[in-house]
Amino acid sequence: MNNTFKNVSLGVIAATITFGVASTISVSAQQTYDPVAQRAIDGARAYIKANNLQNPKLDVLLNSLYRNSFPDFAAEWKELTGVELVSEPLGYTDIPSKVMGEAVAKTGAFDIFNDFPYTQPDAASAGVLHPLDEFAAKYKPDFSGIPEAFVAQQYYNGKQYSFVLDGDHIMLVLRKDIVENPKAQAEFKAATGKDLGCPATMADWEEQAKFFHTKAGETRWGITFEQPLYGAMGYRSVNFSHRHFPAYFGGLLFDKDMNPKVNTPQGVAAIKALASIVQYMPEDIQGWGTPQIYPFWGSGQAYSVMSFPSIFGFGNANPNSTVKGKQLPCVIPATTAGGAPVRRAAEAAGTSYMVNAYSDQPELAYLFIQWLTSPSVGNRAIAHPKGFWDPFRQQNLGNEGIIAKFSNEFLEETMENAQFTTSLLYIEGHYEYMKILDNNLAEVMNGNKTPEKAAEDIEDGWNDVTEDIGRKNQVDVWRKGVEAGLYIDKF
């Protein structure tokens, strides 16, 4: 009996050790071997040798959000290949003009541009971006597990110009501690007849925002609010409102011939909904960007926020946050502006990497980008504690670093949300089209225009831009983008 027990015990221990070792080997192999990254490393080494480069160097025009995380990857790339990366951090609002300035000056001062994907249409048309198709055919990047709209954002007018490494599709986050409060649930049910949880539609979200909007000094559900609890938060300032508009509109912004569809009942309903919920947001919301919205959410003074996914990580990781463990991530609510409920999460910002057409070493620049955005290195970037890259591809799901940073609950929601990702307008003149939208949304929010008049003015403004750039060209690119799946919706 004793011997049998001993043998069984030893067998179990041996099996456990074997399984453990095998798992470790398997995990480490998974982490270290990535054919896409390896091809980039080998390619860079071969390129340097073939071209007899001494102390090769690449200059990167870097989005300043990444000034604390990018250097780690730059150091690793230097160790792997000997290529030094010199980064010049710049605010994201200034990068497009630098890129377009390079289109005129043609200096080759930067080899790599790091910016929102939306800079790409103007830059590619101006000839300042190097088409990457030839390099991609040679070094074979991997876009598996990436939602269609993100893949499509790497291309413009049929050519690849960039690599995307960020899932900046907007999502909704609620206060879990309030949602799970039995008294709050009961009161909400009694008031609305609905169960409390992630709202199904934008109207449901506004209903919740209205219900939970609480003045300072009130006691509700056993909680006394010393400060007001705002029902909602979202981006409503200059250069940001438009990023939320597709979620309210729920469809293509133009028809097949680039005629705007905003001056329709659907467009007017979307404008109304976007403006209506502002009454439950902080009074100063039209002047707020990320530096104000994130800390305010962290201070616990809002019930819900529609934002970039990184707000969830901020709420969990920021030392001053009072909402750690109290956040409930939700898929973007559906809009009913067009009738049937439609969920559309705009890729509101994003991080992409492009190669300067005037770079002396475009192939070397390409190889670094392929390495950085490869599944394994990309995973490490997204998991980087000081980075702002957000999860966006299936390979992110199983990564321990990403799980530790974002939590499984969030990952599941954000990956589901990614399926509804749609691009903002991805054609030449993007910033001008979107500014017209922004200005008119602000006029409605301030009560200076009716939604109907705003819809009319947006339509006129957009038509002017289309004519000014050239309708034929715009129609052609717009149709290609729709066919490529940039916007989920089709004609």
Binding site: M100, A123, G127, G287, W288, E432, D438, A442, N446, I469
Partner: protein, 330 residues
């Protein structure tokens, strides 16, 4: 011939190219032209060539999202587009409103401060230093500080809350997101920073007042008010016109507080013409549209500035004439 130019054979030594150049430049007829050529060269390079290029580009059809090689001449189309653009006129109107309001306050406050400092004896230097500090701050820093002050839960609203609450207003004034409040916020930031300049101009004006005229008026029994109104103020007219011209020129280019505080928003409520042009060119890549708008603005502002300068010259001449008359009378 000096030794330095002779070799051992007694023949003139051959000079190197640099030495020859130096010798050539050292000639009187050449040397006197050097400063002129340098200054004019810089002027040509920095002002004239870019200006001519701007005029040329203003007649092209060109957005920077297409290579320059694809640009083509389009006559006055850009000018027509600018003149029929609602955004251009609205931002121009807003600029005049901001500049008018800010400069008016800066003149009044600067004048009063200068008058007060001119009359005090103790601590004068300290006051002058204190009042000049805002002007010495980098506009970006001043703008950033104001962005903190104007937060809806910031110090300004906290200071005002006893008044606003007593009046029944919401104490959280949306300084940066309410269209009217944001406009006032930008005007106030400009007043805070640039009153220093008008103060400095007026203080120098007060310091330059001829004491014999003021003493003569006093001896003749004029009251302090009469001396101020009929002696000092007329003599200060050139300083006033200088302050108006200089500040107006600067205020019409208002850009930094707009970028730092509101980025032109909410909507376009605080967009000045400088910000509008920046946006058209650097955000929307409409280089030829921006060039045409710049030329039109240059014409408009030139008319204003030259009118101001003409006024300045006229006032100076009048004051000089007055002084001459007073001197000959005396």
């Amino acid at each position: 011939m000096t030794d330095a130019t002779l070799n051992g054979t007694g023949k003139p030594a051959r000079l190197g190219p640099l030495a020859r150049l130096g010798a050539w430049l050292g000639q009187e007829r050449v040397f006197r032209w050097i400063p002129f050529v340098l200054v004019e060269g810089m002027f040509l390079l920095v002002i004239i060539i870019p200006f001519l290029l701007t005029i040329y580009i203003s007649f092209l059809r060109w957005r920077a999202n297409r290579p320059f090689e694809q640009a083509y001449l389009s006559g006055f189309r850009n000018y027509e587009q600018v003149l029929t653009n609602e955004g251009f006129w609205l931002s121009l109107g807003r600029t005049f409103y901001f500049a008018g309001a800010a400069v008016a306050f800066e003149l009044i406050v600067g004048f009063l401060l200068a008058m007060a400092v001119h009359r005090i004896v103790r601590g004068r230097r300290i006051y002058i230093t204190l009042f000049l500090i805002p002007m010495m701050l980098v506009p970006v820093v001043a703008g950033y500080n104001f962005s903190m002050i104007y937060l809806d839960s910031g110090p300004l609203n906290q200071l005002l809350s006893p008044i606003t609450t007593a009046l029944g207003f919401d104490p959280r004034i949306r300084w940066l997101s309410d269209p009217t409040a944001a406009q006032l916020a930008i005007i106030f930031a400009d007043i805070w920073q640039w009153t220093s300049l008008t103060f400095l101009i007026f203080l120098s004006g007060f310091s330059a007042l001829p004491p014999q005229l003021i003493n003569a008026a006093r001896v003749m029994g004029a009251s302090r008010r009469q001396i101020f109104l009929w002696v000092e103020l007329p003599l200060l007219k050139p300083a006033i016109v200088i302050a108006i011209v200089i500040r107006s020129m600067e205020a019409l280019k208002m850009f930094d507080p707009v970028v730092m505080l509101t980025f032109g928003g909410p909507g376009t409520a605080t967009q000045t013409i400088a910000h509008y042009l920046w946006e058209q060119v650097w955000m929307f890549n409409k280089y030829s549209f921006g060039a045409a708008a710049s030329i039109l603005l240059l014409i408009m502002f030139s008319v204003l500035i030259f009118t101001g300068i003409w006024l300045l010259i006229r006032q100076t001449e009048q004051v000089e004439q007055q002084q001459l008359n007073t001197g000959s009378d005396g």
